[in-house]
Amino acid sequence: MGKAVKIAIAGEGGQGVQSVAEIIAEAANEEGREALYIPNFGVEQRGGVSIAFLQIGEEQIGSPKFQKGDIVVALSDRAVRRTRQYVDENTTFVYDSSIEGVEDDLPKNAGRILAIPAIEVSKKELHPRVFNIIIMGAVIKATGVVSEEEARAAIEKKLGYKFEQDPRLRELNFQAISRGMELVEKAQ
């Protein structure tokens, strides 16, 4: 059994981490690979840090959650603190460079730590709404679990009905993927 790639993405409620994970999972599934995605959930409907656990591999995935991720993405200060536990020396830890005051909380034991300016790019270059798609690009670049084409196809499938009405949205999303991939490339 080839080991599955383990991905955790965490952020605040509105940051769309769950849909990023879901889209990647579906893209992988479409390719016929095995994907398992599970969100964290609890008693609070809002307010907690939102975490998506995603694994992609060639064979049936084992435990739905994992102790250490291959790539862990944190998109807010609380998310940084909450996801440290999933990091070890094999982990690539990605966080948004605009997050303030977390220097001391970064997982020092991580294999790599990448700060990417996703929030800034989304606001300044693209649109805040595609922030999570930038993250998606970053994740697929960092892990290689799905190709850019597959990611595009998955987004098309998910949001195609919206793109019909406003084709510019398609472009925006696709750009967001590419930019996300670039950000990781640069940070490496």
């Binding site: 605040e12 509105g14 809002r46 307010g47 807010s76």
Partner: protein, 82 residues
Amino acid sequence: MSVAYKVFSYEGEKGSWSVFPGLCKGCGLCKEKCPKKCLSWSLNLGVYGTPTVEPDMDECTACGICQTVCPDCAIAVVKKKK
């Protein structure tokens, strides 16, 4: 125990108006209820990273309704004594 909250305060003719971004969740209930419609989204972010509110102190009458309807006690209004 006492907890110190960051505060943004605004002074106006009728009184002072403060919001505690550490408490404001950006729900907008206050904004809807302001009889003067003088609250708007601010660039300051609240506890969940969503915008908090700020008043137009030229309009604000310090009536305190926004304080009353805030479920998180994120607003404090003090009316000036006449």
